[in-house]
Symmetry: none
């Protein structure tokens, strides 16, 4: 079998736009144990977990790049596909030109994404990455050692009683530390404290 483009579908034949982009395109067989492909194009099914599907074809294709095709591209689905390790995520009805474009990018070691998905990736990462790194010590700065311990426990979902047992102190003392932390961090309750500690929200007034 020559190394060529392999399209994996759920029974569907090769579409005309795929064929047009890659005349030698072949259909992947679900039952196959190995696959010699330049690129594996996986048409995502509408339902079910796509991660195993992608992983499976990655293995079978000996780590050849896998591109996910979706007839209803959604950012969420794209995220899942990326986590599974695809090298690209694009519309199943993309034009032959775009498909060839994707192929070139992927073969050069790049990753092909739509604008929307990428922006979401960047936005969310940009929001969540800096906090743990930068601001993680931020909220803790104005707190005492004990207050930080209690705050961390709260932020993991523990109740006052549980924290008390964990730290071998009274529930009353836990409340005392919490009240102090609330005041210092300008939050009103344990939930907002949790958001702060977990980097979901920002500090109001930098102490």
């Amino acid at each position: 079998m020559t190394r060529t483009h392999v399209f994996v579908t759920d029974g569907e034949p090769i579409r005309s736009n795929w064929r047009e982009a890659f005349p030698q395109a072949q259909l992947g067989h679900a039952g196959a144990t190995s696959c010699e492909a330049i690129i594996v194009w996986v048409l995502l099914p509408y339902t079910g977990d796509i991660t195993p599907l992608i992983r499976q074809w990655q293995r079978m294709a000996c780590d050849a790049p896998v591109v996910a095709l979706s007839d209803e591209p959604r950012d969420e689905e794209g995220m899942v596909a990326l986590r599974a390790g695809v090298s690209g995520y694009c519309n199943g009805y993309a034009s032959p030109a775009v498909l060839q474009q994707v192929a070139e990018t992927v073969l050069q070691g790049g990753v092909w994404l739509g604008q929307s998905l990428l922006q979401k990736l960047v936005a969310t990462t940009a929001q969540n990455l800096p906090k743990p790194a930068v601001a993680s010590s931020d909220w803790a700065l104005s707190l005492t050692e004990r207050e930080v311990m209690v705050a961390r426990a709260v932020a993991s979902g523990a109740s006052n009683k549980e924290i008390a047992d964990q730290l071998n102190i009274t529930e009353r003392t836990v409340k005392a530390h919490l009240t102090a932390a609330f005041e210092k961090l300008k939050v009103r309750d344990r939930l907002q404290l949790t958001l702060l500690v977990n980097g979901i929200t920002e500090l109001k007034a930098p102490s």
Copy 2:
């Protein structure tokens, strides 16, 4: 002025690899007020905030795609550039072939990134946000539309009263939705719901 590739540098002339990739390439003038370009390639300065620079050329080029070129590509710099809205981020000394590759991708509405940067994006996002972005449908799957709305509000730190006002319903109704959500998601209170919605913890038993 014909629409062509415009390279923006800090006084540096057009490099040979740029010229080779795009023979009609032109230098962008910092003082210009507008610019008719297919793609604007901005060579990032070593120091200073690159965001205004990128934004400026996006405006001047009437939202033509902007690609950032960096002689010392770093993931952090790439992140900043992406947040600023660039459609690509690659090495300033990239080969003409790669540059053309980038151009094609960008012109088709794609985004061009190096493997490293993209992987970091995905990795960090997958760690920090897999829940909000990916599993967002996860926890939300078993909930009704209304329950999801309330859950999201709770997860942002709102009180029952605030949510009630926000949704124009009674506090009692908010409690009803919450109770249902707790039951379905196997959590005991709003704080653990928050952790789930914000992707800090995992779903216990997929319903």
